[in-house]
Amino acid sequence: MPTLQYCTFYLDRLLFGVELKGVQEVIRSLEMTRVPLAPTVVSGLINLRGQIVTAVDLRRRLELEARPPDALPMNVVVRSEDGAVSFLVDEIGDVVEVEESTFEPAPEMLCAGVRGMILGVHKLQVRLMHVLDTEKACQMMEPAEVAVARNKLGA
């Protein structure tokens, strides 16, 4: 039975996992530069050894409650199509190895904004691990004006 390895982390007490092979590294809280006027899910930019990485607040992205202001987030740096992106998470969990058979798609009732991002869950012994689609989570909603302009151009 083929197994998959996931890097897990917690968001608002929920367990999430991203495929280990897509994870570049996990680091503690880094100093961040805020980006005015940016989409709210973008927390800022961090300097990862000379490489500038966008930090995405996964709590906001997944429409969860905001992180308490005194809690320092951890960075899960993943490789996306467009280079490295850092996910801000509450806490890092273990690397878990799961079999495909424990997977089940997410229930339909998931709210629309989140449905595409959560591929499903793996039923671990004690809890459920949400499987996150890294690419989807990295994609930002375009401001309406951009979308309109693009439609107009037929692009």
């Binding site: 940016a38 300097n47 000379g50 107009k152």
Partner: protein, 788 residues
């Protein structure tokens, strides 16, 4: 290291040599008497030939040999370079290049030894020269005089009869770690006498003097540079951690070391970054050859000129724009520049000019390819657009000149009268556009009929190192590209009250008698929500005077730090939509700072107003000297208080009708006007696309509401009333800054009086009004016709 490494070095070196040959030969054709250049060409060929022999590529050596023979004659003055010889020599360069490719992939120099080419090259020698055998002797003499410093092995092969195998064996030993010199190894192998080695060393020493320049550079693998870059990054991170510890320990010694390390690490990072930069001249080098070949192929005469060769770009970008630029250059020669006869007829020099220009501007690298050819034919482009079904006839007629030019970037759009071998290669302008856009650049074309065409490629700063002014605003640093910077103005606390005045809520400063609009960075970036207004502050004010397009404005910041050379990194797609920033950069202390996009900021602040519509309204390209005529517009407020305009010519009269005078004809409003029935078109009705939303707009106007403001239009001899909210003004403006319309019944958005205004499409409104439920347009028109 192994044999294959030796071959690899040979290949890299030879490719470079061949590129130089291309350049030199084309240069020589212009100036055949240039001895210096001729010697250079000869040396290059000779080096290639020599190394081939050494490595055992006999076919390659054979081809190079005939070329060298021909060059020897040229060098001796027995022959003069003419186009036929140049073409043959360039053919040889291509053949050699082909064979090198073969070696690269298979390790052998291929099956072909180009007998025809060799025939041609031999034939080009004058009969007596070809017959005489002196060429070979002269060649040796030339070798002595002009050969580049040779390896000891090569000299020993010539002088002491050492075999290539023996030398190869010795080289291999050295590369495997034998620390001894080549001479010593050979002596040990009994391949040569010590005295011969001493002689050879002497020869080598004399020849080495000529090559001092090449000793100052070395070849480094890009992968190695990338690795260095990562390591430097790691160093910076580790240092930052040390910094945190040293701050908490309060040890003066440790802090001093830590600070020093900070400086070193930063500098190291910058320098390593710079190693990736290359002058654009590196890819331009091949263009003289390209231009020559294309021009010759289509019977044209073209001179290529280059400006700004030294403009530096990151290696990856250089690679990415190489093909698009080549295509643009070929295109200019093939389609842009006319045949010599046509040029003479048009009163131009029979030789066309092709100018390549590269420069930094507005924080971007601009590359222009201009020709002085026939220019683009607007009519033909429009025709073609209609034929291709890209636009309708009406739309085509309405396209501005620039919009029309930009049609050439659509896929499959070619106006070339005939397909030549240059244009039929499947790389169209659309591919150029796609490739340039892939690296975040833009392409724009300008043209004047009969005067020429200019294609401008703008490439983002990505990875380029630029000088920037670093400022602080609300605790964060921002970098402003120096190119947009004009000057810095500081108003001391006591000058602020008088120095900043208000023009209807807009803060301005009198800078040498002219009003400079002020933009507060903290407010534009919404850093301090609802924070204090300008003028009232009792603190000193720092104003950064910036240039955005043709306008100047003052950016008010908290502190002006310093100018720095910064390495620009692009913003990822998550932030691409934020137009106020052009990129980001890592500052000396390891923190990230955002780079302001001055134009984007100016647009946001309303200093310059224009949607950056990438297809049609790319900025900064209105440099053509044909400024549109000023026009007079009637400005009015349309539905939802939108600012709208119509040309004054279209207006017959302005009228005001009390609502009581409005009558219904079906669901159409009409009124009696000068003894006739005037149909009233309600803008809010025609501009609302979806019919079902019209509920509530039907029926007669509510009694008691204010009088209707009506523009009486005189369109094609019919009078029609247009109901608007409010008449604003009559203004004169060029209205030359346009962007595409965002809704029906609007021609386009223009800047009138520096504000975005929608210019109404009157024919479209009349047409859609006729389909609004109510009386047919005919009857309305009929009624109106009576008025005349």
């Amino acid at each position: 290291m192994s044999d294959s490494d030796i071959v690899k070095d040979f290949l890299v070196e030879s490719y470079e040599n061949l590129d130089r040959l291309d350049r030199d030969l084309v240069g020589l054709e212009k100036n055949p008497k240039d001895k210096e250049a001729l010697a250079g060409v000869f040396r290059t060929i000779h080096t290639i030939k020599g190394t081939c022999g050494f490595l055992g590529f006999s076919k390659l050596e054979k081809v190079a040999h005939v070329g060298e023979n021909l060059l020897a004659h040229l060098r001796e003055g027995q022959l003069t370079l003419n186009p036929a010889i140049t073409t043959a020599l360039l053919g040889m360069v291509d053949a050699v290049r082909q064979m090198l490719k073969e070696i690269e992939s298979t390790g052998q120099d291929g099956e072909v030894d180009y007998p025809e080419l060799r025939e041609t090259l031999t034939h080009l020698l004058s009969p007596e020269a070809a017959a005489s055998n002196t060429a070979a002797g002269k060649l040796e003499a030339a070798l002595q005089a002009a050969a580049p410093p040779m390896s000891l092995g090569a000299i020993l092969m010539q002088q002491a009869g050492v075999t290539p195998e023996e030398i190869l064996l010795a080289v291999k030993k050295q590369r495997e770690g034998d620390p001894r010199l080549m001479g010593d190894i050979l002596v040990e192998q009994h391949a040569v006498r010590p005295a011969d080695v001493a002689d050879a060393l002497q020869i080598q020493r004399t020849s080495r003097g000529q090559a001092a320049a090449s000793d100052s550079t070395i070849r480094v693998d890009v992968g190695l540079l990338d690795k260095l870059m990562t390591l430097v990054g790691e160093l910076v991170l580790a240092h930052n951690q040390l910094l945190q510890i040293s701050n908490s320990v309060e040890d003066a010694g440790l802090q001093a070391v830590s600070q020093r390390m900070n400086l070193i690490a930063t500098e190291l990072q910058e320098e390593v970054m710079k190693t990736r930069m290359q002058p654009i001249g590196n890819i331009w080098g091949q263009f003289p050859r390209t231009v020559r070949d294309v021009a010759l192929g289509c019977g044209k005469q073209v001179n290529i000129e280059m400006e700004g060769k030294e403009t530096e770009l990151d290696k990856t970008i250089i690679e990415a724009i190489k093909d698009p630029l080549t295509h643009l250059v070929r295109n200019s020669v093939d389609h842009g520049i006319e045949l010599p006869e046509d040029r003479v007829k048009a009163g131009k020099d029979p030789t066309g000019r092709l100018i390549l220009r590269a420069f930094h501007e507005g924080g971007r690298v601009n590359i222009e390819i201009s020709d002085d050819g026939a220019g683009l034919n607007v009519e033909r482009l429009r025709q073609k657009a209609v034929e291709r079904g890209v636009t309708s006839v009406e739309q085509a007629a309405r396209l501005t000149e620039r919009e029309t030019f930009n049609l050439i970037f659509l896929p499959g759009f070619s106006t070339a009268q005939k397909i030549t071998n240059v244009s039929g290669r499947g790389v169209g302008m659309d591919v150029v556009k796609t490739n340039v856009e892939k690296i975040g650049g833009t392409v724009d074309v300008q043209s004047t009929a009969g005067r020429g065409t200019t294609v401008r490629v703008k490439i983002p700063l990505t990875l380029a190192i630029i000088p920037a002014l670093v400022v602080t605003c609300d605790g964060d640093r921002y970098a402003i590209p120096q190119v947009s910077l004009l000057e810095l103005v500081r108003l001391e606390a006591d000058q602020v009250r008088t120095g900043i005045e208000m023009v209807h809520g807009v803060p301005v400063h009198r800078l040498r008698g002219r009003l400079l609009p002020l933009v507060y960075l903290s407010r534009e970036l919404r850093l301090r929500e609802g924070s204090g207004q300008s003028g009232k502050s009792d603190k000193a004010v720092n104003i950064v005077v910036l240039q955005a397009d043709d306008r100047q404005f003052g950016l008010v910041v908290d502190t002006i730090n310093d100018t720095e050379e910064i390495v620009v990194k692009p913003l990822r797609k998550q932030l691409k939509t934020v137009k106020t920033f052009a990129g980001s950069s890592v500052m000396g202390d390891g923190k990230v700072a955002l780079i302001l996009d001055v134009l984007g900021l100016a647009q946001r602040a309303g200093v310059v107003t224009e949607t950056r519509d990438r297809a049609f309204a790319e900025k900064g390209t209105e440099a053509l000297d044909k400024a549109p005529q000023k026009q007079t517009f009637l400005l009015f407020a349309g539905p939802g208080d939108a600012r709208m305009a119509i040309p004054l010519d279209a207006l017959a009269r302005l009228e005001e009708f009390p609502v009581e005078q409005v009558e219904m004809s079906g669901s159409q409003w009409v009124t009696q006007y000068r003894g006739q029935i005037l149909p009233l078109i309600r803008l809010n009705v025609v501009m609302e696309k979806r019919r079902h939303k019209l509920q509530g707009l039907q029926g007669a106007p509510a009694p008691g509401s204010g009088p209707l403001q009506v523009l009486v239009l005189n369109q094609d001899g019919h009078a029609v009333g247009l109901v608007v909210e409010r008449i604003l003004d009559i203004v004169e403006d060029r209205a030359d800054v346009k962007s595409a319309a965002t809704r029906p019944s609007v021609l386009y958005s223009v800047l009138i009086g520096d504000r975005v205004t929608e210019l109404l499409d009157i024919p479209a409104i009349l047409k859609s009004a006729a389909t609004v439920p109510g009386p047919q347009r005919d009857s309305a028109m009929h009624a109106a016709r009576g008025a005349h």
